[in-house]
Symmetry: C2
Subunit: 414 residues, 2 copies
């Protein structure tokens, strides 16, 4: 182990999750305990906070309040969706980052996010090393989308999956109380990978979940969709359908764009902004099938429902942060922490390290062989994969019958 002394900086990036703060806590607590760390900083809104020299001093926080990050959803430090330029094109941002790193003697940098964030992390790592600034850079995975490559699964996914499966069971119960028949279309997040929507199949596995499930991995066909629904409606009288927001037809056109009356906005990463699909598909279905049809969009709550987080996910998220620090302290850099599932029937999970460049900008999709032949449901291998990830009920501290989230002081260094 090569000893490197200096300050530690952690940033959170991208869309929040129920356990993003648990990962940050794992890293922060480990750093606060380490003799090699002179100071622990949190970047306000990820890399933007570095560019703006807005760092919070974590040493000044009350440890008990920090502890509450374990069950606080979203991001206590703030995140960003900020894409750094390629430094071969223009390196002013990197020079600025280096300047701030030097100013605070930051020798450990942790960035917690999805594949876009791993790209950011990788570029910073390259620039620093090319400029002979010794700094250990480790990515901590996070994404409810579960689409990071080279890791068995991502922190955040288990909790979102637990929320989705639980809510599907409750909505199934609710939607079918009348004897008048009903068709309910649930829209679930997931732009290009169907992991979240597939999680609804765990409810089906428990006997009360969607009858039909459509993922972005399978070309979507409106006529098949209506005929599938019609068949189940004729058989059962009630239909629950789960669709991914990112379903596309066979030429790759987002189904949501069928209903758009103007060119859709794009986010800074060039992803099309999606939404409103459930309502549109419900209207379309209603025009084709004489029935009570309703569309429900799970929306934001699926990524921040700490109140129904998976204990497994919370603990693993913490472990990812803690192990990221451990890896950096032992000399590793330019890596992302990844999860490895142990062999055998009993679920176990430990961390390993993968090269950042291997993960950056790569999306992992659901194996096609886990989807049924008709392309409208999940097979047992998916259940076997997902079920262990939602186990355990996170014991969130409660005050006045409501969650007691962390209130950090967030004292700026300047």
């Amino acid at each position: 182990m090569s000893i490197l002394k200096g300050a530690c900086l952690i940033g959170q990036s991208g869309g929040p999750s129920a356990v993003l703060n648990a990962s940050a806590l794992g890293c922060i607590e480990a750093a606060l305990k380490s003799d090699n760390i002179t100071r622990v900083y949190g970047a306000a809104h990820g890399i933007k906070g570095v560019l703006d020299d807005r760092l919070y001093d974590m040493n000044l926080e009350d440890p008990a309040e920090l502890k509450l990050m374990m069950h606080t959803p979203a991001s206590v430090l703030g995140t960003c969706r900020y894409k750094l330029q390629d430094f071969l094109v223009d390196d002013w941002e990197y020079k600025r980052i280096l300047e701030v790193f030097k100013q605070y003697n930051i020798r450990y940098f942790f960035y917690n996010g999805g594949n876009d964030s791993m790209d950011t992390c990788s570029k910073i790592s390259s620039f620093l090393s090319q400029n002979n600034y010794e700094c250990r850079v480790i990515g901590i995975p996070k994404t409810i989308d579960n689409d990071l490559a080279h890791t068995d699964h991502c922190p955040g996914y288990g909790s979102a999956a637990k929320y989705i499966a639980t809510s599907c069971m409750e909505i199934y119960r609710d939607a079918m109380v009348y004897d008048t028949g009903s068709i309910t279309v649930l829209e679930i997040m997931g732009r290009n990978a169907g992991w979240l929507t597939a999680a609804s199949a765990i409810a089906t596995y428990k006997g009360i979940g969607p009858d039909l499930i459509y993922l972005p991995e399978i070309a979507f066909d409106m006529a098949d969709f209506i005929s599938d629904i019609n068949r189940v409606y004729e058989q059962k009288g009630d239909v629950l359908v789960a669709v991914s927001e990112g379903i596309k037809d066979k030429i790759g056109t987002y189904i949501t764009s069928y209903f758009a009356d103007d060119t859709k906005e794009k986010d800074v990463f060039g992803h099309a902004k999606l939404g409103g699909l459930a309502a549109n598909l419900a209207n379309y279905t209603n025009a084709k099938i004489q029935a009570k049809v309703r569309g429900i969009e799970f929306g934001l709550i699926q990524r921040c429902a700490a109140h129904v987080a998976s204990e497994t996910d919370v603990n693993e998220a913490y472990m990812a942060g803690a192990d990221a620090f451990k890896a950096a302290e032992s000399g590793e850099t330019d890596k992302m922490v990844a999860f490895v599932r142990g062999p055998g029937p009993e679920y176990t999970c430990h961390t390993t390290l993968v090269d950042l460049v291997e993960v950056a900008n790569v999306e992992k999709k659901i194996p096609i062989e886990w989807i049924n032949e008709a392309g409208n449901g999940m097979l047992q291998p998916f259940i076997d994969y997902a079920l262990p990830l939602i186990q355990g009920e996170s014991q969130m501290p409660i005050e006045d019958g409501l969650p007691r989230f962390a209130h950090l002081k967030k004292i700026c260094t300047r």
Copy 2:
């Protein structure tokens, strides 16, 4: 106590809640234990099951499985939205009900629902007594809307309120993670009474809830709405707004109808069907204020989220069912069980009885003096009222990391 022996029938009616089954369980368990009860039946889909002679034999159910009703949302027996005709106009339905009651010797009838259901209950009670058929009829209150008169609050409200307040806290955390500013419009259920939307103020009381709250009790003005949002946006950079689906302007027009391009459908009770308001208000706001604006509709899940039910609500719902049976057994009829809040600072709640006709078709609104002068927020008396109702975390049985709901056999009597 005048002794009456015979069968007992319970029906569930109207929109489901997280605790409707807890009330049914309270009644069913008390009836199963009583020496005066020869058989306990559950009506399939409320009064429709009586008209169709579709009754389930509750004596044939596994008691352990029945017990799970305590934490099973929606309606295990099925509900209906079926309005009986006035028997002075046409009494065939009442004759049919009497016939079925005689067939099964039903001498105890319990109907679990909201104000429409209490109307049904009251009419049946009158008809039976006018036809000299001795039967004790007791209504068990239920409505997440909390709009029943002559009761401090309604079973179902506390759990929906807890879901709403919890989710508001989580969404507040989530919506504000970026430093780019945002306006989030949450649409919450409640057609004419603002109790559910007001529950979001409990999150505000805890420091992380809506900045602005609009209820149907206060005339809604689009210009004020935009100027309120603009003011908070200028001050804070992020705005969370809660609106009731039922907000109306000063001449009583539903705001949702501003955005409708065709005449809105009505339900069988003549209520206008609502929905899509959040998205429409978000679009409207976006046209007026240069900001990232998003609309979120809480939707069905707010009335069936058993996973975050209030323990107080679950226990009180059970008590309402059990006390309904006790009242009937002791000779009461033509009454609804109501809740009375005990005096003093410590919250206590017991049941009393009110005449069905007093409750039928009456809607209880939020006292105007509990709403702030600007008409966009709640005052402390509302918090004092609502906070005790969301206390305690319901301990739902879990299997495979997901709720284990009741699976009844539902064996039909014929």
